[in-house]
């Protein structure tokens, strides 16, 4: 009689995520996996391989490209999709701005973060997606901590936190009416550290910007470091510096801060996180600081 497998907490989180991904495949006609090129969505892709190989993914990868991405991340995205042999759909915020006559965000550090909601909703409509899988985690932010794993959105993509469906056991209710769609978060119960531990255990390749490298940065008044890119308009008073940095999250180059670090391996990064005293969003996001309810408001309006 073979000995039975003993499951540790990562095995359990993995089993939960695989179960959720297969529920999406079983319950929806036209699902999509929203892929940002960040570590969370890269982990999702690995989980999708576990859920569906040797078959193909029952959904395309969809990237909402703000035009402010790091080139290393875009190259990684294209390579990954090609290696997987899966369909990649890219829709650009730039096109939405032009088609809808929207105003480019101004300011010193222009963020297209709010505008990408339009592109996302247009893309959902264009392809008739009834479920969009995302890599959001409940430990990221307080409003996210309240969201279900299957989160129903109305035809305007809006989230109503007061009318969330009870989510019982591990029974996921994907029954929706025409026009509605569901956002699905298979790694809801993972923390930042869990994702890194999983990436290490599974030996998952990541874009190079997650590891320590030298980069020209501008020092913000808060002390945060922002990569110097073509999207920033710098002036003479800006303090520029070259530092050894890495990125803890990968979002727009205009609103994702770098952290000083010489961690060049996964083990070193995990060590860094264990020591870190500042939360992931706090260390790296400039856009949540706008107001206390920043995330809740954006989610209500259809943001992921």
């Amino acid at each position: 009689m073979p000995t039975l497998p003993r499951l540790d907490y990562l095995d359990r989180l993995e089993a939960e995520a695989v179960h959720i991904l297969r529920e999406v495949a079983g319950q929806f006609q036209r699902p999509a996996l929203l892929f940002s090129g960040g570590k969370d969505s890269i982990a999702l892709v690995r989980l999708a391989q576990k859920a569906f190989r040797p078959g193909k993914f029952p959904f395309p990868l969809v990237h909402i490209d703000t035009g402010h991405n790091f080139p290393e991340v875009l190259a990684f995205r294209d390579r990954l999709a090609a290696e997987l042999g899966e369909q990649l759909i890219v829709r650009r915020v730039e096109d939405t701005i032009r088609q809808r006559g929207l105003r480019e965000p101004g300011g010193k550090f222009p963020s297209r973060n709010a505008l990408q909601t339009y592109t996302l909703l247009d893309t959902v409509e264009e392809f008739g997606f009834d479920a969009c899988i995302g890599g959001a985690r409940r430990d990221e932010e307080k409003a996210r901590a309240k969201e279900r794993i299957f989160s129903v959105r109305d035809e305007f993509g809006q989230w109503d936190p007061r009318r969330q469906r009870p989510e019982l056991w591990n029974i996921y209710n994907g029954q929706i009416q025409p026009g509605e769609n569901v956002r699905v978060f298979p790694i809801s119960n993972w923390t930042e550290l869990d994702v890194w531990n999983y990436i290490q255990r599974e030996n998952i390749p990541l874009p190079s910007i997650y590891f320590a490298h030298e980069r020209r940065c501008v020092v913000l008044p808060s002390g945060q470091l922002l990569a110097v890119t073509e999207h920033l308009t710098l002036d003479a008073t800006d303090e520029l510096t070259t530092r050894q940095v890495r990125f803890r999250t990968v979002g727009d180059a205009t609103c994702t801060a770098a952290v000083e670090s010489d961690a060049s391996t996964l083990a070193a990064i995990i060590d860094d996180i264990l020591q870190a005293k500042v939360s992931e969003r706090g260390a790296t996001r400039l856009d949540d600081r706008i107001s206390e309810t920043g995330m809740e408001d954006r989610k209500r309006n259809g943001y992921f």
């Binding site: 907490y9 993995e14 089993a15 297969r22 569906f52 307080k142 969330q164 809801s188 706090g282 206390e292």
Partner: protein, 423 residues
Amino acid sequence: MDLLRFITCGSVDDGKSTLIGRLLYDSDAVSLDVLAALEEQNRTSAAGTVDLALLTDGLRAEREQGITIDVAHKYFTTPRRKFIITDTPGHVQYTRNMVTGASNADLAIVLVDARQGVVEQTRRHTIVAALLGIRRFVLAVNKIDLVGYSEQVFRDIVADYAAVAAQLGLRQVVSIPLSALNGDNVVKPSANLPWYQGPNLLEHLETVTVATEATTDAARFQVQYVIRPQTAELPDYRGYAGRIQSGVYRPGDRVLVLPAGIETTLAAIEIDQQAVPAAVAPQGVVLRLADDVDVSRGDTIVPLAQAPVPTRELEATLCWMAEQPLRPGRKLLVQHHTAKTRAVVQAIVARTNIQTLEQQPAAEARLNDIVRVRLKTARPLAADTYQQNRTTGAFILLDEQTGATLAAGLIEQTAPAEPEVEL
């Protein structure tokens, strides 16, 4: 490292959110920027100290009203264990969210305000948690500082609660006096409670036995999705993807496909495209069958010797979660994990009085009621009773039109007993 999922419940203002805030804060799970944001909020709102409840109350309405509306999930890890906390609302009108939290938890912390003692919501939440199969309870007697750290007050509340626990057959209750606000006995022992010799809360959470899936349970598996690559290399591959819900599966097992009742052999079990010698709950697997049989999503594959009898008639306990009352004759959808079928409510047998736990006759079920019903389904379900199996004994009811989740269902009997005959 293992994982403990627990809920906190109790009446409004008993300090649940503060207790979680304290656990996170004292176990260093709160980062500096979150703490700074918190202190900023407190400066702009109330007076003085850090309000730890703000760590969990994430929605604007919750912060404005100072109450928890929806389930919040929090995560922390100590060197000994990883924890997932579900903070559930105390208000009566949000009991359905309490049910949601309890359905996924291994342990419940029931908070009681030392000044109030055991109140209606304490009973209700304990009943709901017990009903949903939670067996490990912590009675946290909070705000013990406000009763002068009185041992007598603590003893009286423990005795009151013991009566509730006894009525429900709960044998694993650990009572801990604490103050979430001051941190007494949450993560650190308290000098204010010299008469208390037991573990502090975190110590207990770190050492309590975690429920693991028993390998002796009947083996259960439902098909979620059929993998058919139909490629040149794998033209005939058919794999049945799903999660092992309970028990153990091994290649070579003689199995039944239900509800059709087709017998075949388990040719292989694959995980990540590798054949494995055995798989256990809750692993996600792909099952390969020896024969080319018709199997689709919602079907159950079980070892022959352990197979349940598929049934179209269920007697079940419901936690009714909709505003609109449930009356006999109502048609709805049953979602039994991956199986979905129409059903009709044939009768409401009784409603549980949560004061006395008595079963009383009822014509309808209202929001937050716990009722016993008889259901008839369109297609047979390979179900167990909730007592036998916390997974395959559970289902949800959906509104046919809107798809809204209307009720949590716990199967009591898979084929209703024969009506009693007058002799």
